[in-house]
């Protein structure tokens, strides 16, 4: 975790102490918090509708895993589909934007403007257009995840060093060669940075889509269980959502790691988010 290293600074010389600090301490903290939650719920007799203890959440997960899994699958497939579509569309549009000066000047301000407005509010409109179903969730997710990917990729595509571009010109390289051999590889770290933001956005889109279309999926379970006062079920569904979110993020993070390793040590940007 590059950020953590940046924050915690030196003393890389003591690997054992480092592992203790970087892994056991945060995990221990999380464990202590969960234990405290359990103890407080039991000793203070907190009403389970307000805050069920972790053990109750675990019971729900264990006893109802078949139902929960049934609802996890649509959420998972919507997330993956949304992410893939948003990434392909985002990168393609960024390529179009950076390849034409006219397109860029005409469209880029609008895209930046769109970044600022709360696009999630358009979800009800998609229901009007597409009805209540998985398509709506996917489209909402694509719609909000696609902008960060466009902006990040476009930034990356114009980030190749001007000297390298001059070198290519002096070699009489064609625009397509320059794009393939220089611009695109230089943009890869930016594309991944955009995709990481995109993944969290896709999850927001899918969950909100399921909240308001109320057909199936974990978002639907959450709304339904919350309405019925079954808070333990809400928390169980949230745990599963976290697993999906982290899983997807992990896949992107891993791909990024491989690409950055391929890219070499001079990766222009790095970081967690």
């Amino acid at each position: 975790m590059a950020l953590l290293d940046a924050i915690s600074g030196a003393d890389a010389a003591v690997p054992n102490g480092r592992i203790l600090r970087l892994v056991l301490l945060p995990l221990g903290f999380a464990a202590v918090m969960i234990a405290l939650w359990q103890i407080l719920c039991q000793t203070l007799q907190v009403r389970p509708i307000l805050l069920p203890p972790p053990s109750a959440v675990w019971t729900v997960l264990r006893d109802n895993y078949a139902i929960l899994l049934d609802q996890t699958l649509p959420t998972l497939s919507e997330s993956i589909l949304g992410f893939v579509v948003a990434s392909v569309l985002g990168v393609a549009i960024a390529v179009a934007l950076t390849s034409s000066r006219w397109l860029r000047e005409a469209l880029y301000p609008g895209i930046v403007m769109f970044q600022l407005i709360p696009k999630i509010a358009l979800a009800p409109l998609f229901i009007v257009w597409l009805g209540v179903g998985e398509t709506t969730s996917v489209v909402v997710a694509v719609f909000i995840a696609f902008f960060p990917i466009v902006v990040s990729t476009a930034t990356g595509l114009v980030s190749a060093k001007p000297e390298v571009l001059q070198l290519c010109k002096s070699l009489t390289a064609s625009e397509w060669q320059i794009f393939r051999m220089v611009r695109f590889p230089y943009a890869l770290p930016y594309i991944f940075a955009g995709m990481k933001v995109g993944v969290t956005m896709v999850m927001i889109g899918v969950v909100v889509g399921e909240f308001i279309t109320a057909q199936n999926g974990l978002g639907y379970i959450i709304m339904f269980a919350a309405g019925a006062g079954e808070t333990a079920t809400v928390l169980a569904a949230i745990v599963l959502l976290c697993v999906i979110g982290l899983g997807l993020y992990g896949v992107i993070g891993l791909a990024e790691l491989l690409v950055l390793r391929w890219f070499g040590g001079e990766a222009p940007i790095s970081g967690v988010i």
Binding site: E163, Q166, L167, T172, G265
Partner: protein, 278 residues
């Protein structure tokens, strides 16, 4: 070197360059410069910072259009970049995700020539510049001097007739820079190419070049055209030679004169020295 017998390689005839012509922010970077470089001659260009040396070089390389005047390379007027002209920059501009060898082969890829045919040549070049064993290292694993050596190999691999070098060693420390000078002297024994070499170091210019041009402050014109009398092969030992130091002193004076000329009456010498140092 008997220059006038050889065919001219670069002919610069009254060339000027005005950036943002016609606007209030117009900058005349180069003003009616003329000179001719015969084939195989190594010409160094000296001049104060911002005087238009890079601009001149970019025009010769076809990377900038001339505003007026005539620019002919190898008998053909310059209209755009050519593969017979190689360019080296201050920055090695290596692609960070490619190994040293792949960086050297980059022009071969761009020019769609056969990689297989050039691999041995690339390895050979890397060996010549003292990088054997580093072929598969990537730029971030190499020192600044090593990266610049890779950049030299990359320029030589596609065998351009004319080399344009814009302060290629000025980002290096003094010791690496001496090594690079020695390397370039060595390489020049085998590859006799026409070269334009921009530098801020008078000693580097005299050591490497057959001929030194001194440019004035912007807009650049040429105030001195000096032929360096030392025969090749040269070595770094030349730096201790008395005549060498005489030539350097002379060039330094000419550069300072150049400052004085475009800045009206001669003021205190100290200010001018100070400016030259910047």
């Amino acid at each position: 070197m008997s220059t006038d017998k050889l065919a001219p390689s670069i002919e610069v005839n009254g060339v000027s360059k005005v950036y943002r012509a016609g606007t209030a922010a117009a900058v005349e970077a180069v003003s009616t410069v003329s000179f001719t470089v015969p084939q195989g001659q190594f010409v160094a260009i000296l001049g104060p910072s911002g005087c238009g040396k890079s601009t001149l070089l970019m025009m010769v390389g076809g990377l900038e259009a001339v505003s007026s005047g005539r620019l002919i390379v190898d008998g053909k007027p310059m209209t755009g970049p050519r593969t017979s002209i190689g360019v080296m920059f201050q920055d090695p501009t290596l692609l960070p995700w490619k190994s040293a060898l792949d960086n050297v082969l980059f022009p071969v890829r761009v020019l769609k020539r056969s990689i297989a045919d050039h691999r041995a040549a690339a390895n050979n070049l890397l060996q010549q510049v003292g990088l054997d064993g580093f072929e598969h290292k990537r730029p971030h694993e190499l020192s600044g001097g090593m990266r610049q050596r890779v950049a030299i190999c990359r320029t030589l691999i596609y065998d351009p007739d004319v080399l344009l070098m814009d302060e290629p060693f000025s980002a290096l420390d003094a010791i690496s820079r001496d090594e690079m000078n020695e390397l370039l002297l060595d390489l020049w024994q085998q590859f006799t190419k026409t070269a334009l070499f921009v530098t801020h170091s008078i000693r580097e210019a005299v050591l490497l070049a057959d001929r030194v041009l001194v440019m004035t402050r912007r807009p650049a014109t040429i105030v001195e055209d000096l032929t360096v009398p030392f025969a090749r092969p040269r070595s770094m030992a030349l730096g201790e030679n008395r005549e060498f130091n005489e030539i350097c002193r002379h060039l330094r004076e000419r550069i300072e004169d150049g400052h004085g000329r475009s800045r009206a009456p001669r003021a205190g010498t100290t200010t001018r020295r100070h400016e030259a140092a910047r």
